[in-house]
């Protein structure tokens, strides 16, 4: 069992909400190299030979198993690009905890670009949790640019649960999903930016199969001078249902652009989008203050609940 230093242990608590353990199927990437890894009966993790990254093979007998593949960067001035491919067999049921944390105490920028591709078999059910976190007292930036590509076969279900609440100076997230017949996609995106942080999230959902559906919920809070851009797009190429909901709270001098796009290319494609940006509701603040909270405490409670 690999010994983990305190910084790594602390970051893992933020980025792996399910709890990282060196057992079962896992791979901890630390400063561009695998620090420890393990396989289970149904999940095999294989290092790529042609480029940095791993292939994760999840067999059809997998039933509710967790796979942990976190990334920790604590070397200032380090840029890490990694390609992780998930091969999920028909009928598998798996929970994958990924995520990346950067501790930067230096003057140079630290960056992680994770390119994750999911090949989801028929009837498989995948829950993918990806938390991003940054810390450290250096003035070097903490940058995360994830790319997520999901190819869903018929009758599969994919839940994409992403969260970036603290410490990442710049992020550009690209997500592409193709849905097969009767497949279901759930996306929950939570984001909070502060200081001068910048965040951009582009998402393209191609609903190709008849009976496919997608629900995209994005909740964000932009504080201080930070800026955010959301561009989720749902394209209905068959009889399908999709719902995009983007809600943002804006504070101080922050800026939020929300550009939901719906594109129907089939008569029976039913696609809805909702987008709302607004400040914290005064009535909510007052209600919580009548319960004995200060304005700042009330604000924190509202934000925490909103991003819950």
């Amino acid at each position: 069992m690999a010994e983990l230093d305190k910084v790594t242990q602390a970051i893992l608590k933020y980025i792996d909400e399910l709890g990282f353990e060196q057992e079962g199927a896992f791979n901890l990437r630390h400063n561009g190299a695998s620090l420890c890894h393990g396989n289970s009966e149904h999940v095999k993790i294989v290092k790529k030979e042609d480029k940095p990254g791993i292939d994760i093979y999840i067999d059809g007998e997998t039933d509710g198993e967790q796979v942990h593949i976190p990334v920790v960067l604590d070397a200032s001035g380090f840029t890490d690009k990694v390609y992780n491919d998930f091969h999920i067999e028909d009928g598998a049921n798996v929970v994958i905890a990924a995520g990346c944390g950067i501790h930067n105490s230096g003057h140079e920028d630290s960056q992680h670009d994770g390119v994750h591709s999911f090949f989801v078999g028929k009837g498989a059910n995948v829950t993918y949790k990806e938390n991003h976190y940054g810390e450290g007292d250096g003035d070097g930036a903490r940058i995360l640019n994830p790319v997520t590509k999901i190819y869903m076969d018929d009758d599969s279900v994919f839940t994409l649960d992403t969260s970036q609440i603290k410490g990442v100076d710049s992020t550009k997230r690209e997500t592409e999903v193709c849905l097969g017949k009767n497949s279901k996609l759930f996306v929950i995106e939570k984001l909070m930016t502060h200081g001068e942080q910048e965040a951009e999230s582009n998402m393209e959902i191609q609903l190709n199969g008849e009976g496919s559906s997608a629900q995209i919920i994005s909740r964000s809070v932009a504080k201080e001078e930070s800026s955010q851009v959301f561009h989720p797009a749902a394209v209905g190429n068959a009889k399908c249902n999709a719902h995009i909901q983007c809600d943002s709270i804006i504070m101080d001098t922050a800026q939020v652009r929300s550009i939901p796009e719906i594109n129907a290319k089939h008569l029976d494609a039913a696609i809805i989008h909702e987008a709302a940006i607004g400040r914290i509701n005064d009535e909510q603040l007052i209600k919580l203050r009548t319960l004995g909270m200060t304005g700042e405490e009330a604000e924190n409670v509202i934000i925490e609940a909103f991003l819950n």
Binding site: R219, D247, N281, E283, Q284, I286, K287, L288, R289, T290, L291, G292, M293, T294, G295, V301, I302, A305, F306, L307, N308
Partner: protein, 246 residues
């Protein structure tokens, strides 16, 4: 317990001063229940908000247990023992019912405690406890939850702004029971803004507010017959009072 002296509150509407409350003075004794009634737009809800610190009076004083709280903020008044139930409570995206109750109680409440509290206001607890306090709850459900937040801990003074509004008949009966329970506790005083005769029948005293002024205040048995006799029009009531004075 509560002493209100010469409260005045006005707003500036497009450069024109409009007086909402004018020279309001009254007192409430410990354990007393005061029902404030009167026509819509008369200033009842504004008075309740001024007492809670949500609106700031232009002049006058609010004294709670001998302490001048006129300049105290909302949260300070809450900590000093004032509870407040809104006429139209706000919704919170992402906040569950049990979380809101725990926040209101000032301490984590167990599932059993939350259920017991919700049952008291007529909500089938198990169905509600993990629901979000958002648009999925009806107006009546929100209203009952709002009342539950005030009931979640004891206060020196509870203020309920039209608690009956939007509540069905069955839940209203349960609500009456809750007010009776509070009334039994001689340490808690109650201010209820209401148009409901059944609530007024519970009051120790009734205060009528119209056009921002106290049109009458007195024992329930003195005020209520006059109010009922003259129908909902407080103007008629006021005229009668003025006639008596003349």
């Amino acid at each position: 317990m509560l002493k209100v002296e010469n409260l005045t509150f006005s707003v500036n509407e497009k450069g024109v001063k409009r007086t909402i409350l004018s020279d309001i003075s009254f007192e409430i004794a410990p354990g007393e229940m005061l029902v404030i009634t009167g026509p819509n737009g008369g200033g009842k809800s504004t008075l309740a908000k001024v007492l809670m610190g949500i609106e700031k009076a232009n002049s006058g004083r609010v004294i709670l247990d001998g302490v001048d709280i006129t300049d105290h903020e909302i949260d300070e008044r809450a900590k000093e023992g004032i509870g407040f139930a809104f006429q139209q409570p706000p919704r919170f995206k992402g906040m569950t019912v049990d979380k809101l109750i725990s926040l209101a109680a000032g301490e984590p409440k167990s599932e059993t405690e939350c259920c017991e509290l919700l049952s008291r206001v007529g909500l089938c607890a198990q169905e509600y406890i993990k629901r979000d306090v958002d648009n999925t709850l009806s107006g009546g459900e929100m209203k009952r939850l709002e009342i539950a937040t005030v009931l979640s801990k004891p206060h020196k003074l509870c203020i309920f702004d039209e608690p009956e509004a939007g509540i069905d008949l069955w839940s209203f009966s349960m609500l009456i029971q809750q007010f009776e329970e509070i009334k039994k506790d001689k340490n808690q005083s109650l201010i209820l803004i209401s148009h409901q005769e059944r609530i007024m029948q519970m009051a120790d005293r009734v205060m009528v507010i119209e056009d921002g002024r106290i049109a009458g205040i007195g024992k329930r048995e003195d005020i209520l017959p006059t109010l009922i006799q003259n129908g909902p029009s407080c103007c008629a009531y006021l005229q009668r009072m003025e006639g008596q004075e003349a």
